[in-house]
């Protein structure tokens, strides 16, 4: 992979993220909080996250699946990201040691 390709992707993704950040402020006048667009923006992330997790669990094997589930449940219970991630990593490492 060429350095220029990587740099290009970083700049494109950076520009995309900035457009999302600034876009809401600039376009606020034309966006109603209860409109279809606003509703779509609220609902899309959760659905994409689920689909993303399915892919991640598929490629991560049993350790990935167990770790992800433990992280999710811990987050739901504690609402603390770092507790959830630590628990998830711990569970994944334990699983990979038991069933490599």
């Amino acid at each position: 992979m060429h350095d220029l390709d990587v740099l290009g992707v970083i700049f494109i993704l950076g520009l995309t993220c900035y457009a999302m950040r600034a876009g809401g402020y600039v376009l606020a006048a034309s966006m109603r909080d209860d409109g279809i667009a606003a509703r779509f923006l609220r609902l899309a992330p959760g659905n994409l996250f689920i689909a993303f997790i399915v892919g991640g669990c598929l490629s991560g094997g049993l350790a990935g699946l167990v770790g992800t589930m433990v992280a999710l449940v811990t987050m739901a219970v504690t609402a603390r990201e770092w507790v959830a991630l630590s628990a998830g990593f711990g569970a994944a490492i334990a699983t990979s040691a038991i069933a490599p």
Binding site: M1, V6, L7, V9, I10, I12, L13, G14, T16, C17, Y18, M20, R21, A22, G23, G24, Y25, V26, L27, A28, A29, D33, R39, F40, L41, R42, L43, A44, P45, G46, N47, L48, F49, I50, A51, F52, I53, V54, G55, G56, S59, G60, A63, G64, T68, M69, A71, L72, M75, A76, A79, E81, W82, A84, L85, G88, F89, A92, I93, S96
Partner: protein, 225 residues
């Protein structure tokens, strides 16, 4: 936009130097494991500056780079920033966009929440947004850089942790998203479609197709709360 608001935000967000620093360190280790150079990794954290977008695009990393899928994933997962920006416009209505565009470069979930909360207590102040954003950004980018400066090798448990970080990080975001869902059906459809489609298309596109189908079903439901 006042200097007092800037100072208030800066001080209030100082703890984020540590928490974002730790998160940035793990992200840096993941980039290191991927074989990305220090300058690229730091630039990634500086310009993209979004744990969600970085975690998602990391998992899509392949040769050749699936640029279009990455951009669509960034737009979809960071669409919440559009709503945050629209809300900030309501708060700072009198402030011309050109005066706040630089601050928006560093907009993060936490700085938006803190700014909204401060506006309730002390009145809207764009200085607070900029002040609170700075420690968060320094922590995130500094943590990424530290991963390369520190003698940490990505092998053994660290390698596993780095490989699983994107999926686990996204999993921790799910509880906060649940409040927007009217029923579990759209999420179930997202998962099943992504699973089925992954047999036929590239993993990055199966995620987008699955998530897109689930979102369509969400939109057809009567209410979203």
């Amino acid at each position: 936009m006042t200097a007092a608001g800037f100072r208030r935000g800066l001080v209030a967000a100082l703890p984020f130097l540590l928490s974002n620093g730790a998160a940035g360190l793990v992200m840096g280790l993941t980039y290191k494991g991927l074989g990305l150079g220090a300058s690229h990794a730091i630039l990634f954290s500086l310009l993209v500056y979004s744990a969600t977008a970085q975690a998602i695009t990391l998992s899509m990393w392949a040769s050749p780079l699936p640029v279009a899928a990455m951009v669509v994933a960034c737009i979809a997962t960071n669409s919440r920033y559009l709503l945050m920006g629209a809300h900030l416009r309501q708060l700072f209505g009198g402030l011309a966009p050109r005066k706040i565009l630089l601050s928006l470069f560093l907009l993060a979930d936490a700085s938006w929440l803190m700014t909204s909360s401060d506006a309730d207590r002390n009145g809207p102040d764009a200085g607070y947004l900029l002040g609170s954003s700075i420690p968060m950004a320094i922590g995130w980018v500094g943590g990424t850089a530290l991963a390369y400066a520190a003698p940490l090798a990505t092998n053994g448990p660290l390698k596993l942790a780095a490989a699983l970080l994107p999926t686990m990080f996204i999993a921790t975001l799910l509880p906060s998203q649940w409040k927007n869902a009217a029923s579990p059906w759209p999420w179930l459809i997202s998962a099943v479609v992504a699973l089925l489609v992954s047999h036929f298309v590239d993993p990055s596109w199966s995620m987008l197709i699955g998530g897109g189908c689930g979102t369509l079903v969400s939109m057809m439901e009567r209410t979203d709360a």
